[in-house]
């Protein structure tokens, strides 16, 4: 039965993990995402669905526990905030190299270093360009509401298993800490060991009963073989780019100016769009839902008929570079951002947009 609850984004992630039939969560406390581990520990899913929840000794341990669990074909996940995600880099690369499905949640805070504990989108580059060493791509989903924090856990696991690839949910402290209404789905049963063997038997480490042994590894000493494997990975990423791009478009049909923003900034920008429309300025909003793969084609199409793009982010200008790379016309692309954990207010963002428009006149 569906239920509607008022909850924080972080709580939504935890409840979605349990309800979607996740097998294991491994995490370490860090603000502003600790409610994920706290909620799971309070829920005690090991008594109901049999889901394992373990507080690890570090983010390094967490991600390697995820590596172990994912190697078994289990639906496993971790979550952290920016500094903790940096610690997971090596593990993420191993997971990508061993082609393992798993879900990672980053509830971003301001950096660099220990930085602030307030919301930020400063880890965009890390998520889409450099999550770890070596040539690999994550799939990156960007929720902009508490409902999406919930729903994307399901989507992330689906994508992870469809492509045997790690999926990152890139959120921020605001979406993690805020409360909204959430539609909670009925319980999905966890996969049985037999179902896992049926689905993942060709690679999952489950004990070699009835088959030849499986080895979960990312090491290959032969460069020729390694390059073949790299090519296989790149082919997979190409398929993902061709089939899994997701974005939301509002009022772009007649828009003169399009704001590009994801996560919390998309919510702020949608308010800016309302403010602009009230003043007769035709503003549209394009919200990338997948940051990797990026909605390159759609942005390029729009660039052929809009007068300008404003990219709104809580960082010094990161996604704006991908927007510029997407656009093959000479339509201007401007950035407006705040850093350090400051959320740009709709009013100041609207002012920035008006300055941009005036500059173009």
């Amino acid at each position: 039965m569906e239920e509607i609850k008022l909850m924080k984004g972080n709580e939504a992630v935890a409840i979605a993990a349990v309800r979607s039939g996740c097998d294991g969560y491994f995490g370490y406390p860090i603000t502003p995402q600790s409610e994920i581990l706290e909620t799971l520990m309070a829920e005690k899913p090991w008594e109901t669905t049999g889901m394992i929840v373990l507080q690890a000794e570090s983010e390094v341990a967490s991600i390697n526990m995820v590596y172990g669990g994912a190697s078994c074909g289990k639906r496993v996940m971790t979550s952290s905030s920016s500094p903790g995600i940096s610690l997971m880099s090596e593990g993420l690369s191993y997971i990508a190299g061993a082609e393992l499905p798993c879900v990672i949640v980053n509830v971003q805070r301001g950096g660099p270093g220990l930085g602030t504990i307030q919301p930020s989108q400063g880890d965009y580059f890390q998520a889409v360009k450099a999550a770890g060493h070596g040539d690999f791509d994550l799939i990156v989903l960007a929720p902009s509401s508490v409902q999406e924090m919930y729903d994307f856990v399901y989507d992330a696991f689906d994508l992870a298993f469809k492509y045997r690839n790690p999926v990152l949910i890139l959120s921020d402290g605001a979406i993690g800490q805020m409360m909204e209404k959430v539609v909670i789905r009925p319980q999905t049963a966890r996969k049985t060991n037999d179902e896992i063997i049926e689905e993942c038997g060709s690679w999952a480490v489950t004990g070699k009963r009835g088959r030849t042994r499986n080895i979960s590894t990312s090491v290959e000493l032969d460069s020729v073989e390694q390059e073949k494997f790299n090519e296989k990975l790149q082919a997979k990423y190409k398929t993902i780019r061709e089939t899994e791009v997701r974005f939301e478009e509002i009022n772009c049909e007649d828009a003169d100016f399009v704001i590009v923003a994801y996560g919390l900034c998309a919510r702020i920008s949608s308010k800016v769009m309302e403010m602009g429309r009230e003043e007769g300025i035709k503003i549209g909003l394009l919200r990338p839902i997948t940051l990797l793969p990026f909605p390159t084609e759609r942005l390029n199409e729009l660039s052929k008929r809009v007068k300008g793009f404003l990219v709104v982010e809580m960082n010094a200008g990161q996604m704006v570079q991908d927007v510029r790379l997407s656009v093959t016309t000479d339509v201007p692309v401007e950035h407006y951002g705040r850093m350090g954990g400051i959320i740009p207010a709709p009013s100041e963002t609207f002012e920035a947009l008006k300055r941009f428009i005036n500059k173009l006149k």
């Binding site: 097998d23 294991g24 491994f26 394992i52 373990l54 690890a56 000794e57 570090s58 390094v60 341990a61 967490s62 390697n64 526990m65 995820v66 590596y67 172990g68 669990g69 190697s71 078994c72 289990k74 496993v76 090596e90 593990g91 191993y94 061993a98 480490v205 489950t206 004990g207 070699k208 009963r209 009835g210 042994r213 499986n214 080895i215 979960s216 590894t217 990312s218 090491v219």
Partner: protein, 254 residues
């Protein structure tokens, strides 16, 4: 060999290569303790009849490729993280035999945290710790367990406590943890020691299968390439030096 009267038949067979070892030639250097210890693991798994329900975790280091030699399911872990990987695997597969196989550079240096905390949580796993007091794969650098005065490529004047601290006795440390039920130190430098070590390994596995918390078995081992000695001389050096710092025997058995 004329006049030899032993018939080559099954009834007379005393020892043969266990079938759980694959046909692959081991990449270990001639005389390496890893070969012998890999073999003991294969023999114990085969004798316990658990080859279809055993999952091994290999480290980074020479034994990363142990998965090529023993015919069971394996996970190759990031450097030092085998115990974290094993913790998750065992919790998700409580009915399986889960063990890690790690060297001193992996377990006692970069992976100290993961190892100690898996021990402290009392994970129902066996940790096989092969201590040859050096980083073998990268060419014989100093490790935390390198003996005082021992020369390596990164302690060319010999290990000096004022520079490098002291040989790390991690088995003694984990023996103090409540999550650990069995800690033993063994070696494979003689046939008698190897036979004893195999018994200890079997006991460690049996304790894990009975969910008794962590079984921690240290093998004091040689690295003849790293030590720049012949394998036979390495075994002698091990007896004369390594076993003084790391004496064999049970440290804990409850």
């Amino acid at each position: 060999m004329a006049g030899l009267k032993v018939e080559i038949k099954k009834e007379n067979l005393v020892y043969k290569r266990t079938e759980l070892l694959t046909d692959n030639t081991m990449h270990y250097c001639p005389g390496c303790s890893h070969g012998t210890i890999n073999k003991l693991v294969a023999e114990v798994v085969a004798e316990l009849g658990i080859e279809e329900s055993t999952i091994g975790i290999t480290p980074v280091g020479c034994s990363a490729f142990a998965y090529n030699y023993i015919d069971i399911d394996w996970i190759q872990a990031a450097h030092g993280r085998a115990c974290a990987v094993a913790s998750a695997v065992k919790r998700l597969h409580p009915e399986k035999m889960v063990f890690t196989y790690q060297g001193d550079g992996d377990l006692a240096a970069i992976g100290t945290g993961e190892s100690i905390h898996a021990c402290n949580r009392g994970e129902n796993i066996t940790i096989i710790y092969v201590n040859n007091a050096t980083y073998g794969m990268t060419g014989g650098q100093m490790s935390p367990t390198t003996l005082m005065g021992m020369k390596t490529t990164t302690s060319p004047q010999g290990r000096d406590s004022s520079l490098h601290g002291y040989p790390f006795k991690i088995a003694d440390m984990v023996a103090h943890l409540d999550g650990v039920s069995y800690v033993t130190r063994q070696s494979v430098h003689t046939a008698a020691a190897t036979r004893k070590a195999k018994k200890a390994l079997k006991k460690a596995f049996e304790k894990s299968l009975a969910n008794k918390g962590v079984s921690f078995i240290e093998f004091v081992a040689t690295c003849s390439s790293g030590w720049k000695m012949s394998p036979v001389a390495s075994n002698k050096w091990l007896e004369d030096n390594m076993l003084q710092a790391y004496p064999v025997g049970d440290l804990k058995d409850i």
